[in-house]
Structure formats: C-alpha cells, structure tokens
Amino acid sequence: MAKTLYDKLFDSHVVREENGTALLYIDRHLVHEVTSPQAFEGLKIAGRKLWRISSVLAVPDHNVPTTDRSQGIADPISRLQVETLDQNCVDFGVTEFKMNDKRQGIVHVIGPEQGATLPGMTVVCGDSHTSTHGAFGALAHGIGTSEVEHVMATQCLVQKKSKAMQILVEGELGRGVTAKDVALAVIGRIGTAGGTGYAIEFAGSAIRSLSMEGRMTLCNMAIEAGARAGMVGVDDITINYLKGRPYAPTEAQWDAAVVYWKTLHSDAGASFDAVVELKAEDIQPQVTWGTSPEMVTAINGRVPDPEQESDPTKRGGIERALQYMGLEANTPIEAINIDKVFIGSCTNSRIEDLRAAAMVAKGKRVASNVKLAMVVPGSGLVKAQAEQEGLDRIFLDAGFEWREPGCSMCLAMNADRLEPGERCASTSNRNFEGRQGQGGRTHLVSPEMAAAAAVAGHFVDVRTML
C-alpha cells in the first residue's frame, strides 16, 4: 500500500503498540536549559540513568545574553538555570555546547548545522519548535518536561499516531516572497488550530525548490498552525546540505544512509486525511496585525474591521487584538510605523536569512524613528560565516546591532525585550500578547521585510526595494 512519509517515519519507530497507543523509539534528543532541569531532577530522585547518552545533545539558548559574554550572565536567576544545565550535563555525561563554545546557538539551528538531525530520525526536544527538524524528512516534535524525562529514561515516547495533512504549494514564488510568507499564508488560511491533530507534510514544486533553510522556516511554523510535526521529503537538496557535517555519517555508512534516505518521501498515490492547496503565485509578502499568527494579511492589505466579522467569538478576538496592538480598523499595513526590529530566532536566523536581510539593508540606513534594529545570528557558526562574508559590516554600517547567538527577543527571557507599547517588526514566530516583553506589539514578517521596515521606519513592500 502506498505510504505517506509520516507513515514511514512513524511505523519504522514503533517498539510496541497497544490499543492504538505506540511506544515510539527516539533517535535524537535535543536539550536546552528551560525545560530540562525538572526532568534531570526527576531522574536523580528516582535514581534513573539516561538510556542512551549519545542520543542527547544539549545547549543553552533561551537565557543567554546576546551582548558581551565575558562577564557571564548578569541576571542571577537566568544564570542559575544555565549553570544547572551545565552541571546536569556533567553529572549525566551529556555533550553540551556551552555558552562560550563557538558551536553554541539556538537548539533548532545547531541540530541541523551539526548534522545531528538526519533524515529518517525521530527527533524530540522540550520545545514546540522542534517541528523545524522535519525539514530533513525526520519525524520531529516538541514535548513537555515529563516527556523529556520519559525519553531520557526509556529512549521512548508514548505516542498516538496523528492524522496526515498534505500542504501542496505548486508554482514559483515571486521575487521577495519567502518560506516565511508561505508559512504565514498557510496559517492565515487554515488557522492556528487548523493543523491540530495532524502531522503536516509540505509538498509541491514551490517547496521542492526551497533551500534547506527555507524548509526549516516552514516546518518551524507548523506548530503555529497547530501541528506538532511538519515535514518535507528527502531530495538532493537535503542530502547535499548534510554531506560533511560533523555528526553526519561518512564513507560506507554515508553511502548506505543515502540509499535509505532517498526512500523517505510519500509514495505516489499515498492518501492523506486532509489536503490544502496553495498557488505559489498568489502568495504575497505577509505581515501579522494581531496577537495570533493567523491574524495576518498581505503587505498591500489593511488592518481588518471587526464590524465585518459575524462570528461573535472571532469579532471579540479581533477587537481585543486591535486594542492590544494599538491599531485602528482599516489602516493600510504600509502606514504602520515601527519602533524596533528583530532579525533572529529559530525561524529566521540562518545564514540565508541574514544574507537576504543584508541585501535589503546594504548601503541604506535604519530610519530615525526606529530605536533599535538588531540582528541575532542563530549560532556561533552562522555568526562566523556571516562575518566572513562581510554581512556584519553591512548591518553595522546601516545602523543595526550585531549580536551574539541565542533566542533573544523572540521570547525576551534575557535582557532583549520590548517596552510596553513598543511596536516591532520581528522575524520570529509568535506574536502573542507580551511575547517580546510585557505590552510589546509584535508583527511577524520575513527577514527581507524586517530589513525593509527598518530602513523605511514602517512596513513596506520589499519588492519595491529589490
């Protein structure tokens, strides 16, 4: 029978199954400082060990400062959390890229960068954006801390099979239209709960022509559509990306792996529980206007009018969002001025994202009404690569700040945050109330659009600047 990619990945990891609930074997477990301390503590209390130490890779990312790190972390509570991770990794023998290791970075950037995420794997991490790793034809999703502890102790996850959804994007994306815009357009279409209960496979010619960076951006946002896992089938782009990465297999093992990896795509005629189709040509650069990623429109659109919404729950949601965001109904998106710009996060902080933003910023200046425009590379290696290409100079010359890698203002657990009422063009993935700082107002966009907004001082169609 023709199988979906999801079927192949799930079925090949089932240890046992009872009443539709499977024990799923986990190949890779990524760990960061925020969701792991209680899990390690649980193991210690119960006197349990890690089942397979080599499957675990740890990195601090959420709490680390993005400014000078030579003095360590100033906030004592953040520092304790990072030190707790360091100590747990020593106690349990786990490999950790510590804060001052040049391989340190956002967990979802370093996994793929190291080749620690491979096709055919099951990957988990105590973080919802683990869906990112599905870009490699892997089954990857976020888990809670109890499950982190469970995987540590048993190498397995108790899991029910999801339904399968295919999101088909055929055609060619226009200039200045990116994977981020595809992701936001998809969420705009199906809603933030549209993928709940599903594993999403992204397919179609527009997806095939995306780079690995673009595919990661897309799968990263699958969780914002409610799906725990997003994935893309393996092709030559996947394989070429992985060759020579530190954790990737070599020589005969590489050859054997490639043969297997090439089978990791949905079979012709495989059936999905739901199919959503988008035409690539219809997708415009996107900007969110509200407090949920589904509150999104095209750059040439307007802030919606709650009066036009008949469903009372939705109308209430729009009214509340506009009030929080400080926006008037029917305002053109291009008329919205911004205070800050954040280019970074596990969605858009890879080398290609930085190149794209730099291309827009090159030779220009950040507008005078923009108080802060910051670029936070996803990892130390991305940062080094960008500096080698001179991207840091382009940003600095244009008036952007160039920072050390980490989650930073994506969730503002460190010192990088919005003040109440400040409005930000952000390449991150969540525009919830208070996400980037209490009272902060987040508009999600692509790196190109964020750079364009920084230069203009308000949202602007980046296609007019290319």
């Binding site: 024990l23 074997y25 925020v34 959390q81 888990i143 809670g144 102790a153 996400r435």
Partner: protein, 212 residues
C-alpha cells in the same frame, strides 16, 4: 502524580479563545528550576496591573479587579471553563504546573492545543472536551449562579450539573487508567525494557549511523 477520580468544584469562566501558554505563565517565570510554586503567577499579565518577575512578593502587587479569576465569587475554583484551542503556543509544562498550583484540577473547553492537552494528563489535570454549544450553556449557567459547581467523574466520564444534567466526554483508555491510578508513565514503560532492547538492536543493524 496525584490521582484523579471525582471532583466537585467551583467553576471559573475564562471567556477567551486561543488562550496561549505565554498568557497562562509568562516566560520570566520559566527561569525556575523547580516544578512547583507557579500558581501565584498563573495568568500573571492579566491578573496583576504591574509587571511580575520571579522572586518578588506577589501579595504586595496590584491586583487587576476586572480579571475574572480575581472576582471573589470564583475564589477556590478548581474547574476552569474556557473556549477553543486552549493552551496553544509553546510546549512549556510550566503551563499545567501553574494551573495545578493555582488549584485547577479539571478544564472544560471545546478544544485544546495538542502538546498542552498531553501535558495535562502527565500532571494529574483532566482536560475535558465538550462541544461548543454545551460550553456556551455552561458559561451562561456559571454567570447566572454565584457559587456554581460542577461534578466531574472520570470513572463514568461525565460532567454533572447541579440541576441534574449529565454530559459525557471522551478520554483515551490508557490516559484514563493512568489518571485514575496516579500512575507514572516511566514506570509503566520500563515494564517493556526487553521490547525496547530488541527494537534497538534491530534498528542499529538497519541504520548504524544513528548510533555513532
């Protein structure tokens, strides 16, 4: 984990859809390395008028009198009634920890985000799905009647109203078993050590590069 069998409790209505985990417990409280003590900061940004940080004395803060959980009539509530897609956003288990620490043992909503839903069961909270019309009716009943209580019975899978109505809900058999008995997943899984080892040997033979 605390077992869940039957619960008779005050119902607090949170009339919003898409309540996300950042709202349930803002990120600054995620810096804790403990599992407990999150209750005073559940819904922090809605519940207080001033900004909260870990380590500060919450009893000295400015309460938002308009926020529903601050109304005296919902004091001591153990059942949270809310709308669609509750718990969307991050995978942080701090969200169910905060709700539990606040005193909620059951939630009633038309739908939940997947990871949050799953995390509830691991922490002795029962997330109940009732259809949107029933939830609407419950919102009206709670509003109309101060001190309104519901009885949740996991064994019979019913939510029972004071006027004798009974609403059935679905729950996965395995999760029900664990919740009724307060069972820890890890202990259960470790009963299958041999199966895991057998699988691992086969898996390693087929894809040795996964074990480098």
């Amino acid at each position: 984990m605390q077992a869940f069998t039957q619960l008779n409790g005050i119902v607090a209505p949170l009339d919003r859809a898409n309540v996300d985990t950042d709202a349930i417990i803002p990120k600054q409280f995620l810096k804790s390395i403990k599992r407990s003590g999150f209750g005073p900061n559940a819904f922090d940004e809605w519940r207080y008028l001033d900004h909260g940080e870990p380590g500060i004395d919450n009893s000295k803060r400015q309460i938002n009198p308009d926020f529903v959980l601050n109304k005296p009539r919902y004091k001591g509530a153990s059942i949270l009634l809310t709308r669609e897609n509750f718990g969307c956003g991050s995978s942080r288990e701090h969200a169910p920890w905060a709700l539990l620490d606040y005193g909620f043992r059951a939630i009633i909503a038309p739908s939940y985000a997947d990871i949050f839903f799953n995390n509830c069961f691991k922490n002795g909270i029962l997330p109940i799905i009732l259809n949107a019309d029933v939830v609407d009716g419950l919102f009206q009943a709670v509003e109309a009647d101060e001190g309104y209580k519901l009885t949740v019975d996991l064994a019979t899978q019913t939510v029972n109203t004071p006027d004798g109505q009974s609403y059935a809900f679905e729950v996965d058999a395995f999760r029900k078993h664990c919740l009724l008995n307060g069972l820890d997943d890890i202990g259960l899984t470790l009963q299958h050590v041999d199966d895991i080892k057998t699988f691992e040997i086969k898996h390693k033979a087929a894809q040795p590069w996964l074990f480098n």
